[in-house]
């Protein structure tokens, strides 16, 4: 009986303020979509980091005949120097950090180069002797490449020690910047959403001020008076967050999985299993947001 009455009040309130309710729905929809995109981007970054960092190696490039950079003097690294480097990699100081390491000859490097740049005209000019002999090292913890660099980069015959992770940093920096931008926009939109919800409740209370005045006089409990307003805000915001959840799902399904993942097959992308985490998060954020702003609005406009 009373529940029916409360729901009736909610319904009439929503009907009366339909344009405000729609704007609340749209604003929460857009802001929460941005929140979801930002969260997905962070997930994507983590996933790519995990994937690529596992594959990333540290390369110890050795000198070639033409090199004068690093410790090189224009002479190819000697067998002695190579043996020394190899024994250092196997020494007790470095071995604990290293998962595995192997040597790549100039011939192997050339083959790999030809395969990698098969379509590029560069393959015609490059000779095997231009390419560095390399010790490829897989670290147990990819972030500890500094240890290797410190102990090997001053060795005779070493051109340079390069952590491949360095190549990935710009990509992650771009993705990070994009996700922070999305969060920034989302925060602004969420502020707008909170204010809109408060204004909606205020309008709704204003258009019902006669009823409210009488309810107060005859002793309707505070909860009975306030619940319809809170529900109005929560329903509008929930509608917005459900839409945002749907949008996130569609983005992942059609843009990420069906387009990106197919175009860049070698790169891992976020999948539908990640949306299972993101969508409930959005709905919770929407509901909490609405409840909070409804609470503030009620305290300001619905004093009993």
């Amino acid at each position: 009986m009373r529940l029916g009455l409360v729901l009736g009040e909610v319904g009439s309130g929503l009907k009366r303020n339909v344009s405000m309710v729609i704007s609340v729905v749209l604003v929460t929809f857009i802001s929460l979509t941005f929140v979801g995109v930002a969260v997905l981007m962070q997930m994507q970054i983590n996933q790519m980091k995990g994937y690529w960092y596992d594959k990333a190696q540290v390369a110890v490039y050795l000198c070639t005949d033409t090199d004068t950079t690093g410790n090189c003097t224009g002479a190819q690294a000697t067998t002695d120097q190579k043996n020394q480097i190899e024994s250092q990699l196997k020494s007790t100081t470095l071995a604990p950090y290293i998962q595995k390491s192997y040597f790549e000859t100039q011939k192997q490097a050339y083959d790999r180069f030809k395969k990698q740049f098969a379509d590029s005209p560069a393959t015609e000019f490059v000779q095997p002797s231009y390419l560095n002999e390399t010790f490829w090292v897989n670290l147990k913890d990819p972030s500890q490449s500094d240890v290797l660099r410190e102990s090997l980069s001053n060795q005779a015959g070493v051109q340079s020690v390069v952590d491949q992770r360095g190549y990935l940093e710009p990509i992650f920096a771009v993705l990070n910047a994009a996700s922070y931008t999305a969060i920034g926009i989302a925060v602004l939109m969420l502020i707008a959403a909170v204010l809109l919800i408060a204004t909606t409740i205020r309008l709704s209370a204003f258009s019902r001020r006669r009823e409210l005045g009488i309810m107060r006089l005859v002793g309707a409990s505070n909860r009975f008076i306030q619940t319809p307003f809170i529900l109005e805000g929560v329903i509008a915001a929930l509608a917005g967050s459900v839409l945002a959840g749907g949008a996130i799902f569609l983005i992942v399904k059609f843009f990420v999985r069906d387009y990106l993942a197919r175009s860049f097959a070698s790169t891992p992308f976020v999948g539908l299993s990640d949306t299972v985490i993101v969508v409930p998060l959005l709905i919770v954020i929407g509901a909490v947001l609405a409840a909070l702003s409804a609470n503030v609005a009620i305290r300001r406009y619905l004093k009993v």
Partner: protein, 274 residues
Amino acid sequence: MIRFDEVSKFYAGNPRPALNGITLEILKGEFVFLVGASGSGKSSFLRLVLKEEKPSKGQIHVLGQRLGTLSSRKVPYFRRNLGVVFQDFRLLPQKSVFDNVAFTLQVIGKSKGYISEAVPDVLKMVGLAGKSARLPHELSGGEQQRVAIARAIVNRPAILLADEPTGNLDPSTSAGIMTLLDRINASGTTVLMATHDAGIVDQMQRRVIELSGGTIVRDERSGGYQTQAVPIQQIGQDAAQPRTQSVQTQTMPGPRLDPESVERQSVPSWGADK
């Protein structure tokens, strides 16, 4: 029923008190007129009884509850024991007579069965039987006020507060309303009515409390709108009347004021008569 102890009320931004050190007691079953010029504090008094305002100083007890210590969560339950009627009726225009009265019961959670019994009863009592399907704008002013009274008493409150209930009505309609209020009072409800209507007060000869500039200048049993007699002598005579036997009514030894000076004193710079 209602007791004020040294109650003062200041509104923000106005150094003059709306009520200044009011002390009085209203007992169960009394019919009390609250008279005084606009701005004399009548409405503030009613609002304090309803706990719509907090007193700046002093204690108010209503129905055995100390209003100062009543938590805001309990205020609604407290108000269910009070009925209120206003000069402007305050009916919901889009609801029928029946629904206007039923609304009161709905929002305090009464069952459908109870509502369908109580509402026709109370409409019959106020003389509106057969008009329950009408909308407020189809009724005359007097009938609208009867609906408002029905709404105020349908929950059987112990106290009925009426803020100038006849202010918008012509004298003969007012008389009908007063008969109704008298009947409600006779059934045991304490009635506290703020009014400007001298004719009604003079005719009813009930307890009259006169406010001026926030203080009680007269508290007279069986008084008129303006006192005619030397108050001290009246006490002895009135004590013999059975209706107000238990009331220890005093006439305040305040200054006698003629209406003009009252008007001048109480410049209504605060808007309590909303």
